[in-house]
Symmetry: D2
Subunit: 284 residues, 4 copies
């Protein structure tokens, strides 16, 4: 039996937690998990509740309507409702590097990552074999400065045709345009190979090497119009020493990149992330 998951956001006010839990309880829902957060600086309230629909007395397709009527208006709250039996549809964008691709596909195939993957898109042909070995369609859309706009329109069209819910840039070496971003606001996850805000932009490992840092990292974030400046979902680091050349940092970094990206994707899929301004709230 599916669970319902609801993410709620509103002005902080008394009685929200008690009203929401009362709504679930009085209709015979059993709360599986509840996490809430109050941003006291901005007087804002956030909540994620997951409950079992087993004995829930409101029909699945009526829950949103009832919730809006009974609670949405009363507290002026915004909410998103999800069901655990709907697998989100994820498109992967790749270029040349295979480590994040292998990692995500391996997790998908072993059942750890609960998504549908309708297709993988790439601006280069290199990873065709890898993708097809997993039985997935590989769409090659080469990009030049001249055709970029048109190719992005094609990408958007294909993604819409395949009902794609969110996009993962798994070391996709192209900057996506504002147009593309508008179609998938807070639904494009990128992995940047540095511990942002350090070393935003191109060639972060080269920059890290030049600066002589003793730690390198990776950052998974939602893509926004400003490059490498979107809401951070997850970050991690690994120690470096003077012995590591750029080529070593590249290899070491790949281990962090793939784990950080996989964690961010799983959090997104489990509906544990809320975007607030340019930050994320990550529920337990």
């Amino acid at each position: 039996m599916a669970n319902a998951i609801i993410q709620i956001e509103c002005k902080d006010q008394q009685g929200i937690v008690s009203s929401v839990t009362e709504f679930i309880y009085s209709n015979k829902g059993n709360i599986i998990d509840l996490d809430q957060y109050t941003d006291h600086d901005n007087n804002h309230f956030f909540m994620r509740v997951e409950w079992s629909l087993e004995n829930f007395t409101i029909q699945k397709d009526k829950i949103a309507e009832y919730f809006e009527t009974l609670l949405g208006k009363r507290f002026s709250l915004r909410f998103n409702l999800y069901f655990s039996d709907h697998k989100p549809r994820m498109a992967l964008f790749v270029t040349k590097l295979s480590h994040c691709l292998y990692d995500l596909l391996g997790r998908w195939q072993s059942g750890e990552l609960e998504v549908e993957i309708p297709l993988v898109i790439s601006n280069h042909p290199y990873l065709k074999d890898v993708v097809e070995r997993f039985g997935l369609p590989f769409v090659h859309l080469p990009i030049t400065p001249e055709n970029k706009k048109d190719q992005e329109k094609k990408q958007i069209k294909i993604l819409k045709e395949h009902d794609v819910d969110f996009v993962v840039l798994a070391r996709y070496m192209q900057i996506v345009s504002p147009l593309f971003i508008q179609h998938f606001e807070h639904k494009i996850i990128n992995i940047h190979h540095s511990s942002l805000p350090a070393f935003a932009g191109a060639k972060p490992y080269h920059a890290a090497f030049e600066r002589g840092v003793k730690i390198i990292g990776a950052t998974a974030h939602y893509v926004t119009e400003e490059l490498d400046a979107g809401p951070i979902i997850e970050q991690d680091v690994v120690r470096a020493t003077h012995r590591h050349y750029v080529s070593d940092l590249l290899k070491m970094g790949q281990d962090v990149e793939k784990l950080v990206l996989a964690k961010a994707v799983k959090l997104h899929v489990q509906r544990k992330v809320m975007v607030v301004g340019n930050k994320t709230i990550v529920f337990h």
Copy 2:
């Protein structure tokens, strides 16, 4: 204005979260933080709620009674109620090593650790100067196999006289007896210098060196009758290599020990730890 903090434990059942939050809300309390956890294996429910007493309409000294009457009986729940304006009274037990002592006293003096420290007890005189430099009473109770029982009785008497709420064994090199433990059940925090359950007992760094591990650690736990087997509050590790002799591990370990102990003490003081069987629940 103080906050109230309540820790709740009971059989999992529908309506608890909504009833507890309704109790706070309808009496004009504002929830500052709420975290709950359901142990689905054992069908058990745990919760910690912190709310502001600013406009709360039930008198501070009546809250426990009302809560018991209105909710305790209904849900067969056990609870502990605390107030943020009561600083817990902490006694430190030490022997020779000063790193945990300095670390805790430094945090206390800078205001980071919100406790009263009525006294420090030691079985050796070595750290008298350190303790007195911080303006605290140092009680020297030497322990031999012959006098151990009597000295422990003295310790208990002194602790009771000083209204001590909890005891921290800050690298205290004596095993405390069951009698002592009974007087302070789940109120004695020990720091063990290994990542338990590895290397329980004496000389863990020597054992770690012999085994050739690449990681050493520290564990803060509540003391129970079985040595180094009580509920774990916090653990952390640090990397080791073949170059590290026992003496190096000792020094590196001290850095982890003092941080792990300080974290555990702060969690305990903030009433964020609940003991369940031989495990802990650590609320956010």
Copy 3:
């Protein structure tokens, strides 16, 4: 042009470093990397030197002989000589879980892991597809208590026929026998899913869950006759909380397992590990 790599071990004595480096220098070898370690407790000396053969005046196939004659006898030293242009031949043993397999094969295919993989052996058929997708032979040798001895003999025979240099147990769920181990002493790398010596043996994540640890880990070690007690090559950990069920620990642990195993395999392949008694020396 290849590099030569030599690992040296002997009683600590004056003049070794200077004699070895003089041997390389006077024959026009250029030292790329040198790391040495003296175990002062046991008065034992260890060294790894890597030098370019570009202008080296001793023929590749004569180096061992000259080194033995000129230095081996003088210092009563034992050494192993390797060449960077020989890719070690690695056999993988697997059962059901795919995460370590995918990770190692992905690194191999991207060129990060410089080995030949003549075959993958498994006691179950589950991972046949994964292996064959990478174009590698999959050998299925089912094991029962009755046929175990015979199947291990077959394994050994196949490994010898394929000139296998070392074996990686990538979550292979069988205990290998002393006979097998004798054929590959310090050449079988296992990944154990706990931070050894904690939770040796079966079902470590269940045991970790029962104990309520706040950290779980993984350990890569050379297999010896005593179960999970061989020389540790690499370890790492990840934080756990009371919210993690055994099934969560299993998933989180897989991320550490695959990274720890990959690191150990790479260190082994780069000839950076020496076994001393039941410990390892890991050169930089």
Copy 4:
């Protein structure tokens, strides 16, 4: 008996390691530790050797001369020679925050940190008690925009009078001037409360909070004229979540700051750090 420690730097060329070790060996020195590093990008060689003077046949005060004559000229190498029985003289600069001060003084008093501390200088009177409790002179030199130049001259004068070898800015909340830096080139260690190059400059925790990072850090570096841009000695990080306000980050950060600073100071005292351009080499 003391050890000699030598740090060497020169153009990479054949025969250096063998010549240096031969120099030590033939004069009956026993090598305790040797680490070398070749920067292949810039064709530059670095080495640190530590050897026992027990039977060394060259007088302590003649070693530098002999080394320069026999090796320095031949290889055009620069070197620094130290003796393990000379405790470096360290001055601490502090302002208001006590955590790094307590940590360093605790390590000094327990014998872990082998330095002399002739005095502590502060621009504020707050930490006078802490310092004097440890029996150390506290010099209060208040700084205003008007008197800054004069006060720095006084600082330099006092440091010179006390034969101070190196200065540690233990959360000293003043920017030191180029004049001061010239007097102690690569001899001033600062702790910056971010993982540089992220959040250089003032209020890094506020900036980290604004950016919504999931990791905060600390960086110990040698002070150079450009603010927070000097050679990094050591860095470390700690995880943050959306629940952490600036005040939480401040406290969590203090734990990393004090450990990172202590590690950097110990590496400096053990003569394990060499500065090359704007980077450090940290020997094992």
